[in-house]
Amino acid sequence: MEYKNDLGKPWRYEEDGFTVTRTSMWSPPGCHPVGCGLKLYVDKEGKLDHVEGDENNPITKGRLCVRCLALPDYVYNPSRVLYPMKRDPKDRGKDAWERISWDEAYAIIKEKRDYFAQTYGPECMAVFSGTGRSGGIMCQEMAQKVLGTPNACYTQSGFACYQPRSAACSCVLGAYYPEIDYAGGLEGGYDNPEYVVPEVIVVWGKEPLPSNGDGLFGHVVLDLMKKGAKLISVDPRVNWLTTRSEIQLRVRPGTDAALAMAWCYIIINEDLYDHDFVDQWCYGFEEFKNRINDPEKGITPEKAAEICDVDVAKIYAAARMYGKAKPATIAWGLAFDQNQNGNQAGHAMLAIMAITGNVDVPGGQIIGEVPADMGMESEMAAGAGGAQIEKADGAWEGDSTDVISFGGIGDETAQGGWEGIGEELTQKTIGMDQYPLYCNNIRMAHADMMLDALLTGEPYKVRMGWIQSTNLLSPTCCAEPSKWYQGLLGLEFCIATDVFLTPSIQGCADLFLPIQSCAEKDDVNMTHYAGSPVMVGAINKAIDVGEAKSDAQILVDLGNILGSPRIAGRYTTGAEYTSDNRAVIAGMDIRALGDVVYYQRGCNYRKYEKGLLRPDRKAGFLTNTGRVELYSTAFEANGEDPLPYYSEPAFSPRKDPVRGEKYPFILTTGARTYAFFHSEHRQIPRLRELNPNPLLEINPEDARKIGVTDGQWVEIANEFGKAKFKARVSPIVRAGTVHAQHGWWFPEQEGEAPNLFGVWQSNCNDLVPNHYNSKLGYGAPHKCMSCTIRPLNENLDADMSMIWEKFGKLVK
């Protein structure tokens, strides 16, 4: 049966009394920039009536997840804040907000910023960000371009989200993060003759269906399964994909480096590697091979079986299955970051991809092209439109964390520090002394060192804060949020941007700036933050709501008011700014992009042969040796072992059996749900209903032992903190391991301090300490902590009818 569809419709059209706007959604609400295709149906009164999936999107083809379907419930939620507000710093935590105008808000910011910068030096200001929102990746721009401080800070301990992997990519691969190739940039997608369906997809430490992590639209894995791709899963926890895998390796949490090294052992010693690629494009193969086979630091499959607690036959079977498949591809995830040994796990993982010849080939691992140096050929991958990019001033002001996540390019320093703030100020970045690779790789302060500075005033006092579109106190983007709360309360002045009044803002901010949702602004979505050559999409404005402004508009307004040399006089609208800084990847301006809505970037495979991975346009990779450094000279130069090694998680019961008696359960956190993006969406009844309470998954064997039944509330605790969850007794977690949901706060509860919307009730991050990072400053044990569990008699179940009463009546 055939139905009418909207294929080929223009970006805006009329239908049955609605004006329909086609758009590529991204932020807010948060999402990794996937850019799913949406059709926004706006009624005669200019209100968003409903949302449908746009079948014109070449990747999502009309599919949507629950969060975009419920977009009207988010946009018109009665608890949304739609105008700027201020509060006396003495009243932090109290519901003592006063509505003000944007002019007044900007005047306050100018006065405060000028006072702090002139009195104490601009480094006394810091901008804090989280993940997956447009404002988050503008953190460095807000700090460095606008306020003039080097201290942008992603607050999660050890930047335990993407950066540990990204640093390994810079140091070992000399290229952007390699993602699985799903033909996202190719016209016709899977049917494009250039594309090859991978024989094997490995999903390792990632759950792409609900998370769409790193811009990978998760359900493409399912599409490829239907086309014959076989799956291997590496995950301690069972999820839908693992049940459809040929092999699941249920590793003990935090042991991924050992398993990846064992895969290298099998692939090398059984001669399953690509000799041509290794000879021509890899550096240090002999040293690498020697390390893998080293009796002490090497890892045999038998040793890995012991460390990871999995069947050795399965390790052999999985590595052989991957090694023999052509092409084969690996989706690797957050488990690599939430682990002190993650740089090494990442190193071994990149080696697996490289020595099997799967890097930058169709159906293998796709990597992004690097813009050419000024004066060099500046042709980006010829996409559907065959775009030619001419960069205005030679420096592509890519504002994404990923675009700038490259080490080793002297571009920023050549301009005198980050964003032109000068070398001296750049060197004052908090954490620069101890972790220069971390700070320079992402142009940010080190998270754990920033917390120290907030608490101790060392190396200097941070006086003004800016919470940029993050709800850090809810257990998402920092370790030990109770300490961050204390640290933020020490600020003399604090500004925050968001859609809702979050616990972080209610607790710590003095000025609230409301931001627009993705339906309310013209903006640009870059799939995978532009790190993969997939798609650039237009976020097309369809409605106006209240007085909210876009992140980019606030940046541009303040850039003008504060006289930022890179903004003042150059831009008046946020759209102009994102046009220059993001739409440029598509080789068009934002209006032209708005017309086409989706622009597929084209895939230039084997870019290392063509010089497209280096700004100097020489063949090879962007490392010191120009090759994939199986022996990493960059790690070595930064005081780290140039070869991978395994280290036992700091808090594993195996490492410290005495402590293990007290805290016998391995605690993992952070698995994603469909209903929520991290700490968002708890006030959207139709989403909250899918997952009303914070859950702790516990194996039936363990539940029986400690006397917990399904649905009972429990308290988890260790020496750092405690939190309450509702038990879900299920065999999907290994015996001895529990999984706690993250991101929880309760918008239906009392907002004033000390309750702060219940943010301390189920705060799993309060059990995770700071400063358990790698030598290079990366990673944190969010997925390999440990705890004890106590059954509770109280029942803290959410009252869904009360939540519907409170948040179900939309304000249109």
Partner: protein, 128 residues
Amino acid sequence: MGEIWKVGEIMAVGYGLLIDYEFCSGCQTCEVACKEEHDLPVGKWGIRVLDDGPWQKNDVDDEGKNFNWNKIPVPTDLCDLCADRVKAGKDPSCVHHCQAFVMKFGTIEELAAELTKKPKQVLWVPRG
């Protein structure tokens, strides 16, 4: 299509939903798409995604595919097969948005023919 639609009635007779539960990922998009389409409050649903599992299978016999966990979407009494949408020539909202492309809407006859083509599918006829 349309021969069995009764004019003036918002009820689809002779139509059904075919769902391939081998590939249904349990994303719950159908549930929320339906709730948004029909403006259903908390507590009411037009379709529910039920769990078959998870429980451990015998590893050896099942070649390592070691858990039984199927997601089975079941339309409720409130499912009207999106009569208004279908009359306007659109597919039902759950079918349109399904992230795994595993839902089909059609006449019982055509869907029954589809059902013979592969195992692990279920055919629902919520209206008689």
